[in-house]
Point group: C2
Chain length 330, copies 2
């Protein structure tokens, strides 16, 4: 073998080994079941040059819901824990909150009353805790919170309650030249401060709900000030709309866990070329939580029916995942 | 020299040559003047590892206005030519337009009357020509138009009236691991169908003005339908707001040509690390157009004052650019 041929052989071998590694060893926290097989088959066919299902790299867009898909969402959306913690932190500057709902209930740890206030109470809490500062100040507040706050049940930092199998899936897709996006009902600015570290997803690939922002010159220095008004709700029909607005391409793979993700999955599933739609089904009451059709948080009802009717992949957390959280990794 | 050392030497030589090529030969349509020097100096210092001004790759965000910065905008914004052409194409299905302004004036090529109708007339034209179809249908309409339409003065396709020096600048920045974005007052969906081919900027890096979109199931098939209602105007204060919404990072370099870009440049210029702000000044009545403080299209007045006060780079098209359009390339 000449030196040149030898070199080509080694490169060829390395490529073959890399492809093999991608398929077999990149998803170690997934059991060898139908969900893992469906993922690997899909990635294999869209990345195989010459295959009828080949998709060019620029079009390999994958969108992920966050709450309940990439990290846990029980007993309530984690952003709500953040809002409650912020009410407590800000309370000294707001003595009136002691006699004013829903703030009084928050300060008295009376979650029932908070919840009984419904959407109106939640919007008041969001307005009081998510606005009135610059985007950069808010970023720092969120960062600080993720470093100190703990989940009431697991006692873990919230950012360590991401799903290890999904973190591996994100990396596996990126290793196959997918661009991975978050498309969440959660606040876009609540996620961006930590998604790059935790998921490897940079701020420009995070899409979410947002409040209005105003450009102001403060003593000549420009700032983007957060206002107490909703700008966009990135849920249900809002998801394909936001995907179109931010990405301008239809995803070829979409991942969700609730009825809020149904339209994103429909939109992806209606694409012309090869595509993939997956639902995470919360079936593991022991290691995580078990809930679907009757849950007020992350309800999975219509989307589960449609997944079954259309043959979308449904992950059974209990049987498909070897571990749930990164700390459980062997 | 051992084989290994020899290989390292060759790789080192290639890297050195590539760096040299980046600095000297990547901007062949730029004269060796102060604007080119400012660009090359900035890129040099933010990419030099160990330099005090070094910026990690993930934060190398560069934002470009489109009309008047990346392509021409006289005698009126090119998207308006598109709207007028669409009125004519759709006229057979709208016999009432023959007696209804501003449509009648468009059909009679009476641009004065169209313009006299002001913003209201323009919004009516946009509503009639940019909505009522799916996002994918609109994409195809725009693509078809770019292939056939010609500019009334140059007789060139509009997409060949991009500025060759700016196309080189985009490529030069990307070769230095910048992510290049368009941030334009023009329609986001009007630009996306051709920006990847013409500028090398993919749809997910195009930010612009938008109309509202609705998610609909039509016979079970999902579609995003374009509605006759403004969603967002990406101009002036809107530009930093949209940059925050889409990118979630402050650019380190911003490029504009008019007062509509002032806030984007202020926002970029107020960044903590090394940053760069540039205005294209239309000074070449012979090869292009000469206009600034008095122009109704692309007015450059306040931003020119601020550029001078703050020391932003101002490109003098007449002296800084060897050629204007790609067809003039030697």
């Amino acid at each position: 073998m000449s030196r040149m041929k030898h070199g080509v052989f080694i490169v060829g071998l390395a490529v073959a080994l890399a492809a093999n590694a991608n398929a077999a060893d990149s998803l170690p926290s997934w059991n060898d079941g139908p969900a893992r097989k469906a993922i690997v088959d899909f990635v294999g066919k869209v990345t195989a040059e010459g295959s009828a299902d080949f998709v060019p790299e620029s079009e390999r867009i994958a969108t992920f819901d966050n709450d309940g898909t990439l990290w846990a969402e029980q007993p309530m959306y984690f952003q709500l824990f953040f809002a409650l913690d912020r009410v407590k932190a800000l309370a000294p500057a707001h003595p009136e909150w002691k006699q004013k709902q829903p703030f009084q209930a928050v300060l008295e740890d009376d979650l029932k009353t908070v919840m009984a206030g419904g959407e109106h109470a939640l919007l008041e809490l969001v307005a009081a805790t998510h606005s009135g500062m610059s985007t950069e100040e808010f970023q720092q507040i969120v960062k600080d919170w993720t470093l100190t706050a703990r989940h009431p049940v697991t006692k873990r930092p919230f950012t360590q309650m991401v799903y290890q199998p999904m973190v591996e899936l994100l990396a596996y897709l990126r290793a196959n030249q997918f661009k991975t996006y978050i498309v969440s009902g959660g606040g876009i600015e609540f996620m961006r401060p930590w998604t790059e570290t935790v998921y490897g997803i940079p701020p420009e690939q995070v899409i979410g709900s947002s409040i209005k922002v105003e450009y102001r010159l403060i003593g000549g220095a420009p700032a983007l000030m957060r206002l107490p008004a909703i700008n966009f709700i990135d849920d249900k029909e809002g998801k394909p709309i936001a995907i179109n607005q931010h990405i301008g391409r239809r995803p070829i793979a979409a991942f969700g866990n609730s009825d809020g993700d149904l339209q994103m999955l429909q939109w992806t599933d209606a694409g012309k070329g090869a595509h993939f739609a997956l639902l995470v089904h919360h079936t593991d009451a022991g290691r995580e939580w078990a809930y679907d059709r009757e849950s007020s948080v992350g309800r999975l009802d219509k989307a589960l029916d449609e997944a079954q009717a259309k043959g979308w992949t449904v992950v059974d957390m209990k049987t498909d995942w070897k571990v749930i959280y990164p700390a459980e990794k062997q």
